[in-house]
């Protein structure tokens, strides 16, 4: 038998704190959560609340001053033809960008989740994240040059004799234009480029959680690859797809730089908010515009939930 004590001596502050947290398990949680909750509550929710409040004010048409009285007049203004146009255009662009990102991201995410190992996994993460390291503005201007009439795409299309196709795309009303850099098509391409990582990463994370045996079970039971994709992979990856689409959708809806630089300079919600609060000084309408993406996201998530997109969570 040894003479070692049954209770070891306390070794100072670290042990005292450990004992304290052991006796009161919730204390540590409270210590950890208080700062972020303060930040979230005061700064984040506070500013959101201030925004909501502003949207219920209106602007005096003669003086241009904000009238601090509750009214729905500002919201009614959203339904003017030109403002509805902005909302609809933004909504369509966001939806198109989200679908574009999802289609391009899926094979990449699938490869990374299922086949990439060791070094190739690192290459994947590097490749996906690398564009995020450089300035967003620089990338958008770079794209403007790439897509310009004198840019590399036009040049390459001429070189390989595909100018016909490029011109045909540019001739499509609604998405075409003078050149790619001045067409909605160009705006779409740049949006897809800048938001793609935000779709790939959550998709890859959700695909990684689908065990291989589940795909094997599906094949084993007689499913073709397409059936396995539709009935097993897609439903299980859905939470990741939805998470990614929240990024791409809301980022597109809020962006005000890309539509200014690339495209027809037709206004999007972000641009409208930027101009309304700046040059026009119409903070209430800017706030009302800013509420629109929030409402759209809420509707979108409600539908997704109803459709069972989160069943696999």
């Amino acid at each position: 038998m040894t003479d070692a004590p049954a209770i070891l001596p306390e070794r100072g502050l670290g042990d005292r704190l450990t004992a304290l947290f052991w006796r009161h398990p919730r204390l540590l949680l409270a210590v950890l959560l208080t700062p972020p909750l303060l930040w979230l509550g005061v700064v984040y929710l506070g500013s959101l609340f201030a925004l909501l409040l502003q949207s219920f004010y209106s602007i005096d048409e003669f003086s241009g001053m904000v009238k601090e009285e509750f009214t729905l007049k500002t919201y009614a203004e959203l339904f003017r033809a030109q403002n509805l146009d902005i909302i609809l255009r933004t909504l369509l662009m966001s939806a198109a960008v989200t679908i574009g990102c999802a289609v391009i991201a899926f094979p990449i995410a699938y490869y990374a989740a299922r086949f990439a190992k060791g070094k190739w996994k690192a290459v994947f993460y590097l490749g996906v994240m690398l564009p995020l390291w450089s300035s967003y503005l620089v990338k958008v201007y770079a794209w403007k040059l790439i897509l310009a009439k004198e840019g590399i795409i036009t040049w390459a299309a001429e070189g390989v004799g595909l100018s016909m196709i490029l011109n045909a795309i540019l001739a499509i009303p609604g998405i075409g234009g003078n050149s790619l850099s001045t067409s909605p098509m160009g705006t779409f391409i740049v949006f897809v480029y800048v938001w793609l990582p935000y779709m790939i990463l959550p998709m890859q994370a959700s695909l990684e959680r689908v065990p291989t045996s589940m795909l094997e079970a599906s094949a084993d039971l007689g499913a073709s690859r397409a059936q396995t994709f539709r009935t097993v992979i897609l439903p299980l990856a859905m939470p990741g797809v939805i998470a990614g689409s929240i990024f791409t959708f809301s980022l597109t809806m809020g962006d005000y730089i890309i539509p200014q630089i690339v495209g027809t300079s037709a206004r999007f919600i972000g641009l409208a908010v930027y101009q309304l609060q700046g040059t026009a000084g119409n903070i209430p309408l800017a706030a009302a515009f800013a509420v629109v993406p929030i409402l759209i996201m809420l509707v979108y998530l409600t539908i997704a939930k109803r459709k069972g997109a989160f069943d696999a969570l």
Binding site: P211, S213, M214, E216, A217, S218, A219, D220, L221, G222, A223, S224, Q227, T231, V232, P235, L236, G308, D311, A312
Partner: protein, 334 residues
Amino acid sequence: MTAAVEFSGVSRHFGTASAPVKAVDGVDLTIAEGSFFAMLGPSGSGKTTCLRLISGFEKPTGGVIRIFGQDVSDIPPNRRNVNTVFQDYALFPHMNVRDNVAYGLMVKGVDRRSRNDRAEEMLSLVKLDGYADRKPGQLSGGQRQRVALARALVNEPRVLLLDEPLGALDLKLREAMQDELKALQTRLGITFVFVTHDQGEALSMADSLAVFNEGKIAQIGTPADIYARPRTRFVADFVGSSNVLTPEVTRAFGGPAKWSSLRPEALRLTAADGVALAGQVTAIRYLGAGSRVSVALPGSEIALLVPAGEALPEQGATVGLAFDPAALHIMDEA
């Protein structure tokens, strides 16, 4: 009887040509239709790879696999009429139990009503009536295993493959499932191919079994045959708790100078005086139905089984050993 599954010189090598990992190496195997066949071996012995070769998740790098006489080299898993019960069950977490079981019928295009009826039938076959609306996450391990079984049987496969299906269950449940699987196989008459590393499970359930070692089959035979007459040291060691005797010790036991095996129940204790085989008791392990006594002899340690009720020696006591000479099994291996 026709062969349900036939392997002719089948190999599955991984890695590069210069440094191949031979998961399965030149296996010849015939599994009779309607039999309960076990593939037994330690992990990494190639038994699971063999199972995956039958289901089509692995492609052989050499040799030919035939299922009911047909070469399946170019047939993908979804067109092989064999189904698998996966080790982790691989139930679809986003579907309820009914949809899981009916999945095989759904992908075949069977209409909802018929496939639901069929799923209910399968669930009652595995004694899970009333669980159809649960999600897999709401079931216990044993229940999930039954769902996996029902799902694999719904397509009425010609061969059912089971990959360590009882590994995750606790002892009591495992024993109950062993009986049930055996009864189910007898009732359905489907060929069952069962992979396990548990020799007790393989011996008690299988009609015949193959013992795998390092990608090769060490021995094929009936459980009784393999237990009583292991061909190699590896088989004797792995299957059952036999004593494996070196050539020298075999000689001391009155046999030829070859490796041999001797089952613990074939030995009994005697008085130490005037006996050729005597040694000290090094360990006594209580097993319920008896006790396993280890005796140190020159050059080896011999285990024997003392039935409950018989007198046990003291630890460290010197005892003599007697045995039935017919039980000394000489192995092929030199």
